[in-house]
Symmetry: C2
Subunit: 212 residues, 2 copies
């Protein structure tokens, strides 16, 4: 169930001049056992302004307050750090999501429940990441907010810039957003509060045995 | 002391049609408080075969067994994953270390004690990473094993391949290794067992208040 996707050297002997070297390491299973929950990535996908980051942070806070080991990957800590070298070209957008998926996988291997909040508009990119993780370790969360409401909220003022032509190739306007057809969780933010949206996700995790 | 290097939105209100959105998030300080230790990256550097990965895993196991939240970044989980697209060109070697540094920083932000085990031969690369982290969050660990002993151990058979000319640009042979001049910890693997080497690092962490 919780096999590490990476090769783990459990015991290996290397000879130095006169010292026998026993290599011991912590297995993925050991890391999982030390926490009160199973690890996974909650992969939030949705339009700009749909509420991905807000809900991801709310879920993260509930999990953290409940004693889970968690982290959030979002624009704040990825865009200017790991992916600071990437542009908005098609190839770089794919590379952006690939790297985030790889980092999420490392956090899952470390035993954490990690929320990832990026538009990730393409089905093939999301599938590529799901395939890299073990069964039950990738949970697709579709933040299903209608474009009109996203544009109305416009928390970063981006839709306004699209209107004036200042921004091109904007997801949902003149660049495709491929909505998930079989997301594990679908959240309708137009119909409930942030807290209720987050609770739906917490309930999914409980019902599926991620924690008690 | 434990400020997050990333922008954290503590409270922000966004208006949906008729719902007020309060954004709450877990701060770096919150994550640190939930663990029994301060977070940091133990940045192991040394020649191929010096014992970086072996000692990093031994330290990781001691910390894990002591209740710390830990992870190891090494060739096994980085080379074929996040950095699977990189070659051994000069530019890609720098990019390799840059990305590992950024990932280590994310793990530190998440509150973990992370061991990173890569040759990382260039002083400038190591300094670049140290600068990205807060004071006390980057601990340079020099695995100071003489080249002759590394070549004798040759756990991956690489020195043998260098001898036959199968491998070129090998660190310590025909590519420079810039030994740290002011490492926080210097480990002489030729003089003690893996366990004793690991204990020296554990003692450093205790003495410097990373945990009780």
């Amino acid at each position: 169930m919780t096999q590490s996707p990476y090769k783990t050297v459990d015991s290996e002997t290397e000879k130095s001049s006169d010292v026998v070297w026993h290599q011991a390491s912590v297995s993925h299973e050991d890391r999982v056992k030390s926490n009160k929950h199973r690890p996974a990535v909650l992969w939030f996908t949705g339009l700009s302004g749909s509420g991905k980051s807000t809900i991801a942070n709310a879920v993260d806070k509930m999990l953290h307050d409940g004693g889970c080991k968690t982290y959030v990957l979002d624009g704040d800590n990825i865009r200017h750090g790991l992916n600071g070298d990437l542009t908005f070209s098609d190839a770089d957008r794919i590379e952006n999501i690939r790297r985030i998926g790889e980092v999420a996988k490392l956090f899952v291997d470390a035993g954490l429940l990690v929320c990832s909040a990026f538009i990730s508009p393409f089905k093939s990119d999301r599938e590529m990441i799901a395939k890299k993780l073990n069964q039950g370790e990738f949970i697709e969360v579709f933040i299903d907010t209608p474009l009109g409401i996203c544009a109305q909220r416009d928390p970063k003022g981006l839709y306004a810039k699209v209107k004036t032509g200042e921004i091109k190739n904007f997801t949902g306007i003149d660049s495709t957003y491929e909505a998930p057809q079989n997301a594990d969780i679908v959240i309708k933010t137009a119909e409930c509060s942030v807290e209720d949206c987050a609770l739906q996700i917490i309930n999914y995790l409980k019902q599926n045995g991620y924690f008690q």
